[in-house]
């Protein structure tokens, strides 16, 4: 299978959702015979895209199920503006961890924009080796390679950029409010929907590369979560009753992320602050230096949480977990 032809066909089908696309036009564009186009369409049918063929009219895509296919994502991603990452997506059926795969490619010199997605992760993880529950087909697991030319002190901005991109994209697609818990957790109706793990390799002065890992609960039902997580974790299916396609979600996330990545941080900080449910409230934060209580008043220029103590003194927090109220 030539991936370029699949991408061309999928782009034509997805950008004309209710219209028929002529096989002849596709053949001309791809520079191949109509028979070759038909073979590709047949293959796409086999992997799950319902394509309707109408004599003399052409081909039309019916509502597609949750096919997880790198070519579709490549076909539908918006073109990057100058300076934005040019996403290139690779799919693995199963991997220990998508972050590990991207990390290895980055060390071998892969360019900014590589995205690895997996159907299933056997050892997905969060911070400090904490396990991330990864179920086959029910969650979105993706890791993206970025090479920001920022001073190392600004690397924390990436957490703010990524969590904002996930929250905005999911909200736009689902029409339900998505909020953020500082610094990286994405919430719907008070329960955690997803998280982000960013891993960085740096010289003392410069960032070599950053791997942003995104985990989002999509179609899990209550019984997919261990009892202990029912009160704190959720999925889009549980919250909305709908089945969402992971490809739609990832395309929306990557499209939003590429924009925020190059935007002035001030713009990102403003949008992020409006979504954060901790700002303005009195919170307790467990930090490596001990527990702190104060009012969350905002983010500093690199995304650290500004906590105002009763004395009025403001402390920037870069490490810590906000404790449940």
């Amino acid at each position: 299978m030539t991936t370029a032809i699949d991408i061309l066909i999928l782009r034509a089908l997805f950008s004309n959702p209710s219209r028929y696309v002529s096989g002849e036009d596709l053949a001309t564009q791809a520079g191949v015979s109509r028979a070759a186009i038909w073979k590709h369409l047949d293959q796409l049918q086999k992997i799950g895209y319902p394509i309707e063929a109408q004599p003399h009219q052409g081909y039309r895509l019916l509502a597609p199920p949750d096919v997880w296919c790198a070519d579709e994502i490549a076909a539908r991603l918006p073109d990057p503006a100058p300076g934005e990452p040019n996403w290139r997506v690779l799919l693995f059926q199963e991997t220990a961890s998508t972050n590990d795969l991207v990390w290895r490619e980055a060390q071998n010199g892969a360019q900014e924009g590589l995205v690895i997605i997996a159907e299933q992760q056997s050892s997905g993880r969060g911070r400090q080796g904490r396990q991330w529950q990864s179920c086959a087909k029910s969650g979105l697991y993706a890791s993206a390679l970025l090479r920001p030319h920022w001073p190392l002190s600004q690397i924390t901005r990436l957490t703010i950029v990524s969590s904002l991109a996930v929250a905005e994209a999911v909200e736009k697609l689902c029409g339900k409010e998505v909020r953020i818990k500082w610094p990286n957790d994405v919430f719907m109706r008070g329960k955690k929907l997803g998280g982000i793990l960013t891993e960085v390799q740096a010289d003392p002065e410069a960032i070599r590369f950053a791997v942003v890992g995104i985990g989002l609960n999509v179609s899990q039902t209550k019984s997919d979560f261990p009892d202990a997580l029912h009160a704190i974790a959720t999925s889009l299916k549980i919250e909305t009753g709908h089945d969402y396609r992971r490809a739609d979600l990832l395309i929306a996330i990557l499209g939003t992320m590429q924009r925020h990545y190059r935007e002035p941080f001030e713009v990102v900080r403003q949008a992020w602050s409006e979504r954060c449910f901790s700002l303005g409230q009195t919170i307790s934060v467990r930090t490596p230096a001990g527990q702190l209580v104060g009012q969350a008043v905002g983010l500093d220029e690199n995304g650290a949480l500004l906590l105002r103590a009763e004395s009025g003194r403001i402390t920037p927090i870069t490490a810590g977990d906000i404790l449940p109220a």
Partner: protein, 160 residues
């Protein structure tokens, strides 16, 4: 300069709200910096003079921290050939990838430019720090799971 004098400097800084103090003399150089949260930390210090004798002054907790980290730097720098790996950022210092796994490096271990020695976490960004030089780890100068400031010595290393 002995620890009593260093303590006097810190007390003066605290009293007068100074955030940074630097003094350079032919035989030594010292820089003391107070963080934004009021905590006093010692920035990289290079000694060629013998390490000062330990003293046990009664000091405020913040000043005690500073003295402790100065002492740590001093002991690691007894040998002028030793170098330090400094924290490139503010964050939490982790010696291992997870609480159950073994440390990236142990004292006595040989490392090269690309050996990962620790992780500094800030805002859920895990930053792998490399040794950036060939050598043997002589001392671990920071405590795992604890915050570190910018420029805080993390390891003493004997270059090879």
């Amino acid at each position: 300069m002995d620890l009593k004098e260093i303590k006097a400097v810190i007390d003066l800084m605290t009293k007068n709200g100074l955030s940074e103090f630097e003094l350079e003399k032919p035989e030594f150089k010292i820089r003391v910096r107070r963080g934004a949260d009021g905590e006093v930390t010692a920035a990289p210090v290079v000694y060629s003079a013998p390490a000062p004798a330990p003293v046990a002054p009664t000091v405020s907790p913040a000043a005690a921290n500073a003295v402790a980290s100065l002492a740590a730097s001093a002991s690691a720098a007894k040998d002028p050939a030793l170098k330090q790996i400094l924290s490139p950022m503010v964050g939490t210092f982790y010696r291992s990838p997870s609480p159950d796994s073994s440390a990236y490096v142990e004292v006595g271990q040989e490392v090269n430019e690309d050996t990962v020695v620790c992780i500094i976490e800030a805002m859920k960004v895990m930053n792998e720090i490399k040794a950036e030089m060939k050598g043997v780890i002589v001392e671990v100068l920071a405590q795992s799971n604890k915050p570190v400031e910018f420029g805080k010595p993390l390891f003493a290393i004997k270059p090879l």
